[in-house]
Each structure stands twice: as structure tokens, then as C-alpha cells.
């Protein structure tokens, strides 16, 4: 099978925990967003302060996740599928207002 790669871009405080851009090789043609986040959590556990996986699915603390520019909640939330070439943006929470 050819390499299946997704790009994940982190912003703000998340960038300080992970890095601004991460490329992950996938083992299959597509995986769920939950499985993708699991992969990231394995390598960067500190990010669990902002995004975690509970029995009920992905739980975020003010974080937004976009897949190719569209918010993941419109694409099935934690069950949204991520495929080769997809770009995932993970935005931090915002204090203030």
C-alpha cells in the first residue's frame, strides 16, 4: 500500500505542546477522528488537558477541530473519517470575550 499521510496543524497553546505541524502516516486508507486523536495523545499526552477521549467519545475543552476547513461536528464528530491528504486544524480555546 502507498503511504497514507494526513497533516495536522496546531495553533496557539496547542502548538507549544505538540508542534505547529504534524504529519502522520496512517496504517489504513482511512481512520476515524477518534483514532487519529488517540495516536496524537499517545505521543503528546499533555494535550489531554484540552482534548481527551472518554467512553462517550471525544471531549474538548474549548477546542475546535476542522477537517479540510470544515468543522468536524458537521462531518460526524468523533466518527468523522480522515483520509490520505486531509488537513486537520486544531484550534485552541479562547479566554476573555
Amino acid at each position: 500500500m502507498n503511504d497514507v499521510v494526513v497533516i495536522i496543524r496546531f495553533y496557539g497553546v496547542l502548538k507549544e505542546i505538540v508542534k505547529d505541524r504534524l504529519e502522520l502516516d496512517l496504517k489504513s486508507n482511512e481512520i476515524s477522528l477518534t483514532d487519529l486523536i488517540k495516536e496524537i495523545l499517545r505521543e503528546y499526552p499533555a494535550i489531554s488537558n484540552f482534548i481527551t477521549i472518554s467512553e462517550e467519545g471525544l471531549v474538548v475543552r474549548g477546542v475546535s477541530v476542522l477537517i479540510n476547513g470544515r468543522h468536524a461536528m458537521f462531518l460526524g464528530g468523533d466518527k468523522a473519517l480522515v483520509r490520505d491528504g486531509d488537513v486537520i486544524d486544531v484550534l485552541p480555546p479562547l479566554h476573555g470575550g
Binding site: G62, S64, H71, F74, L91
Partner: protein, 595 residues
């Protein structure tokens, strides 16, 4: 009587009549104070379809029952039919006015009619009367503040007098303020005041704490105060940072949701020059509203240019959004807009629109380029005094963009110009903007804070939006400060439980569930006001710009996604598919029989 001073002062400017009116317990019980009582009264008293500038419109200036008795409840809410949106509008401000109002024995002032001459309303123990103040005509908000140094002063500037549809109402605007000045910025309520020929309200309260806190158990009061101050110190002081919600600039820029060039991009290469650290270095003073320990009002000086009370929205809308990356320039802009009495969010938004039209070659007789400070300063004055193109822009973005045949570049919802967060990316804010009761506004539901936990589902987002709108509507009956829960680094749940206990020491009997329902009642009532003015689903929509991918990131909100979100929101609220509250919803929230 539930609490001392559940009385309003009704002032008819048409005939100089001033009367006290005690509000019935049945209404106070259901609407408490602040936003709640003012919304109820405006719904009952303002006839549908009236011109916001007509004498029939009314202006409600309210405080809350906890002011002076407990710390931080020093906000004043101004409520009216907005001349900018033609809809419901409430706008909150800090300063000393609310505390002095309570110390005068009133929970609110209702201003109606129109005076032939310019007047000021004076309220002291000795007298309550309208005084001629023709000599104040054309004075800035700072000048009025200086004239009445010994009073709490709520005033308009020249923009309000000239009926600029986004003129603000300022409180305690002074050169060297001892307490934090306040600005009720949004929706043009200063122009309503101007239309009534009322320049200012000057006020000095006289009641003592024991007179206002009659019946409050002193031990419980001390205990709640001490618990609350501890929460403020531990959870809110770290969030406030350098003050004035300026820390938001950094996170907004890093998250790429900063307004840049009329929301065409989300970050600016020199954003750090406008971030909180940069402002912190030039801060010379920080002041608080009376009874508040937080000192979020910042005074800064850059190269001899001084300004008070500079905030994130002002910096972002007039800085990155206009490509003006200069702290000195922003200090000048802030002072000028506050002095003339114009909303900094709306003015920045309109200027960006005009700069974009210039760049696109869509303006025939006027030019203003990105970053052109000199022209912008001139434009601000032209708007305030309705000169040249300023006369058209003083009508607000929606009207001006229609006249200029450029509506696709106008970023507003229900005619209220969007504040400083691009919702592409933080999509929850799109729903919050579209369903905010006063038009495109971020303060009704701030869905993107770290202390809010949710699943990554549409349903959770909708629930969160509704919860925050209801919670905030309830908090603004007190009136709790909107800077406090928003800047808490922990969930503000315990803080809100303490607020409810504080309220109950006055004789109410709210619990968490009924408190939230109080907010839901108010949110449905402000919606009913808007529905009565013709608002339907098509008005709960996004400006065209947000429905197109942003060039720098590709982020987008599709029309289909947005409509799905809106459907779910209406359903959760108990509104029909056009956004009209259903009869059973009104029954459930306790509005049937009252309206």
C-alpha cells in the same frame, strides 16, 4: 417589597415630569433587576414598529439588586429599541453609576418623550429634576465628566447628539479617572438619548449599606463575600492578565481568528506589537469599578499618547482589521472614539469595509487605504459630525453598504456589525452571533472558552450555546460583570452558586434550575420583541463573507452546515422553524399571562 429600592424613576422629557414607581413583587420575582426588568418593561411599553428616534421610544437605564451590597455588581445596563438594528438592544457598562443608582434607592430609570431643549437629569437626595444644559451642547464625554466631577456621570458625546446610529453611552469618562470608566457601546443607544435631547444623567447616591441591605443576614453576607473574593483572587485575577481583556489578542492571533482587512485573513505578521505584553509595558495605571477588586481598567501611554480603558475589541477592530499596527495610533483612536461617543467595534468594522471598497476600486468619490491613520482620524470626525461620506456611514454598515451597492463586503448580522472574532474556525461563535438577541454579538454565548467541556457534536454545541445565553441573561439581572465568568480560568459554576445565594439573602428563592429558567424567560422575551418587529429565520443568518472559504486557511462555514445547526438550535429552544417561540415554550418559561 422583595428588596429595598425596587423602585424606578420614570422621567418624561416632553413635560419635565418625574415620578417614582415601585415595581410589583410579582414582576420583580420573575425578572429580578437589570436586563430582566428592563426587557420586561420595554416589551410591555414600546409599541411595535415605532421609529427608535421618536419620542415614543424609551430608554431604560438599570442596575441590579446586589450592587453596593456585594462586590463587583457595579454594571449598568442600557436597554432600548436600537436605531442601528431596529430591534431589541441592551448594552452593559462599568463605572460607578449602578452603585450610585442603588444608593439613590432606585433599580432603574425609564426615560421617555423628548425635550425641546438640551437637558441633564440630576438626581441627589435633595432634588430630582431636569436642568437646562444648553452649554454642554457639543461637549465630549470627557468634558462632561470634568464638569460634573463630584457626580457619577452617564453621558453622550457629539455623536449621540448628532444621532449617529452607533453612538454609545459613557460613564465617568474623565482624564484621570479614580474608578474605571464604562462604555455601553453597542447598538447606538447614545443616539436614542440624543434623540430625547438628554445630554447626561448626573447622580449622587445617599443611602447607607444598612438601609439597602435591610433584612440581609450580616454573617451570611460576610461569609458569601469572603468566599467570592477568594474565587476572584484565585480564578479570575490570573485570567484578567494585564486587564481590559487584552490577553485575548494573543490567543485570537495565534488561533488565526483575528480580524484582518475586514475579516479577509486571520492573523497579522506584526500582531505581537499589539498583544498584551506590549500593552502591559506601557500601562501606567489600572482602576476598578466601585466595589470590585479586579482593576481591569487600564490606562496606557505610548509616546505621549494616553488613553483609558483600552480593550481587545478596540485594538483588534481598529488595529489589525485596518492594518494600523501602532499602539500610539490605537491610543489616539480609542480616546477620540470615547470622547466623541461612538462604538469602537462598529466604527472599526465600517472603516475596514470602506478600505476594502477603496482597494477594490468600488468607491467613486472617496478613498481610504489600509493603514491610513490620518484619513481614518478625519473619517471618525466626519461620521460624528455627519459630514460628507460620514453622513452616510453614520447610518451604520447595513444602510451604508446598501446605498453603496456593496452588501457582499459588509460584515454584520441583523445590522449589528460583527466584533473581533472570525467564526470560521471557531464555528460555535457563528451560531452565537446569529442567535444573539441584539444582533451580531459575541457576549451572549462565548462558546470557545477552555473551562467549557463538550463533546465534538452539533448537539453539544447547540446545548452549550443555549445554556450560555440563558445563564448570561440571568447573570445580567444582578448585574454580574461579563468580564468575570469569561476570564475565569476554572468553570465559574461555584461562583454562580454563590451569586444565587447572594440573591436569596435579599428575599428571593432561586436555585440553579430556576435561575437558569429566569435567563431562558428573558431570552424568550427579547426574542418575542424581535419577532414582533418582524425577525424570522432569514435574519438569523451569516454575512456572505463567512460563507466563503477564507483565503489564508481555507476555513469555511457552508450554508447547509449553518442551517443544520440553526434547525437544531430552534428545536432545542422550543421555537418553530421560523424561530418564533412556541406557545408551550412560553408556558414553560413562565411568560404566558405576563405578555
Amino acid at each position: 417589597m422583595i428588596y429595598p429600592g425596587q423602585t424606578i424613576l420614570r422621567v418624561d422629557l416632553s413635560n419635565d415630569k418625574i415620578e417614582e414607581e415601585e415595581l410589583p413583587d410579582s414582576i420583580v420575582e420573575k425578572f429580578v433587576g437589570g436586563k430582566g426588568l428592563a426587557t420586561y418593561l420595554m416589551y410591555k411599553e414600546i409599541k411595535p414598529g415605532i421609529d427608535p428616534f421618536s419620542p415614543e421610544n424609551k430608554l431604560y437605564v438599570f442596575g441590579g439588586p446586589l450592587a453596593f451590597i456585594y462586590p463587583t455588581f457595579a454594571r449598568t445596563v442600557v436597554v432600548s429599541k436600537s436605531p442601528l438594528t431596529g430591534l431589541y438592544c441592551d448594552s452593559n457598562a462599568g463605572g460607578s453609576f449602578s452603585v450610585e443608582l442603588r444608593r439613590a434607592g432606585y433599580v432603574g430609570i425609564v426615560l421617555e418623550g423628548r425635550s425641546d431643549k438640551m437637558k441633564c437629569l440630576k438626581i441627589t437626595k435633595e432634588e430630582k429634576r431636569l436642568i437646562d444644559c444648553g452649554s454642554l451642547k457639543g461637549k465630549t464625554t470627557y468634558e462632561v465628566g470634568e464638569v460634573f466631577k463630584d457626580y457619577s456621570v452617564l453621558t453622550i458625546g457629539p455623536a449621540g447628539e448628532n444621532l449617529v446610529r452607533f453612538a454609545n453611552v459613557c460613564i465617568d469618562m474623565r482624564k484621570n479617572p479614580m474608578t474605571r470608566p464604562g462604555v455601553a457601546g453597542r447598538g447606538g443607544l447614545g443616539a436614542v438619548m440624543g434623540s430625547k435631547n438628554l445630554k447626561a444623567i448626573i447622580l449622587k447616591g445617599w443611602l447607607r449599606l444598612d438601609e439597602l441591605a435591610k433584612g440581609v443576614d450580616r454573617d451570611v453576607q460576610r461569609d458569601l463575600t469572603s468566599k467570592y473574593l477568594k474565587i476572584l483572587q484565585e480564578d479570575v485575577v490570573p485570567g484578567i492578565g494585564v486587564g481590559g481583556n487584552l490577553p485575548v489578542f494573543r490567543v485570537a492571533a495565534e488561533a488565526r481568528i483575528l480580524p484582518v482587512k475586514n475579516f479577509q485573513a486571520g492573523s497579522h505578521e506584526k500582531w505581537e506589537e499589539l498583544a498584551d505584553d506590549a500593552w502591559g509595558k506601557i500601562t501606567i495605571k489600572r482602576v476598578s469599578c466601585p466595589t470590585c477588586p479586579l482593576r481591569c481598567g487600564t490606562t496606557v501611554v505610548e509616546n505621549g499618547s494616553l488613553t483609558e480603558r483600552i480593550e481587545y475589541e478596540t485594538v483588534a477592530m481598529n488595529g489589525s482589521n485596518l492594518m494600523i499596527v501602532s499602539r500610539k495610533a490605537l491610543a489616539q483612536i480609542n480616546t477620540t472614539l470615547n470622547a466623541l461617543g461612538m462604538d469602537t467595534i462598529t466604527t472599526g468594522n465600517i472603516a475596514a469595509f470602506l478600505m476594502e471598497l477603496t482597494e477594490r476600486g468600488l468607491l467613486r468619490d472617496y478613498r481610504i487605504s489600509w493603514g491610513d491613520l490620518e484619513s481614518y482620524m478625519r473619517l471618525i470626525h466626519d461620521i460624528a459630525y455627519r459630514r460628507g461620506i460620514g453622513n452616510l456611514l453614520a447610518e451604520g454598515l447595513a444602510r451604508a453598504s446598501k446605498e453603496l451597492n456593496a452588501e457582499e463586503y459588509a460584515v454584520h448580522i441583523k445590522r449589528l456589525e460583527i466584533p473581533a472574532y472570525d467564526p470560521r474556525g471557531v464555528v460555535g461563535m457563528a451560531l452565537a452571533y446569529a442567535t444573539a438577541d441584539r444582533g451580531g454579538d459575541h457576549l451572549r454565548a462565548w462558546t470557545v472558552a477552555a473551562e467549557l467541556t463538550s463533546k465534538l457534536t452539533l448537539e453539544d454545541l447547540v446545548n452549550l450555546t443555549k445554556y450560555l445565553q440563558d445563564r448570561n441573561a440571568a447573570l445580567w439581572t444582578l448585574i454580574a460583570c461579563d468580564n468575570i465568568p469569561g476570564n475565569s480560568v476554572k468553570p465559574p459554576d461555584e461562583m454562580i452558586r454563590i451569586y444565587i445565594r447572594m440573591l436569596n439573602t435579599l428575599g428571593f428563592s432561586y436555585d440553579e434550575e430556576s435561575f437558569l429558567k429566569l435567563g431562558e424567560r428573558i431570552y424568550n422575551l427579547s426574542r418575542l420583541f424581535n419577532v414582533r418587529e418582524g425577525v424570522r429565520r432569514e435574519d438569523d443568518s451569516l454575512p456572505p463573507r463567512f460563507l466563503k472559504p477564507r483565503e489564508d486557511t481555507g476555513w469555511v462555514i457552508t450554508k447547509e452546515d449553518f442551517e443544520r445547526m440553526l434547525d437544531m438550535y430552534y428545536s432545542k429552544r422550543g421555537w418553530d422553524s421560523e424561530g418564533v417561540p412556541l406557545k408551550e415554550t412560553l408556558d414553560r418559561v413562565g411568560l404566558q399571562g405576563l405578555i
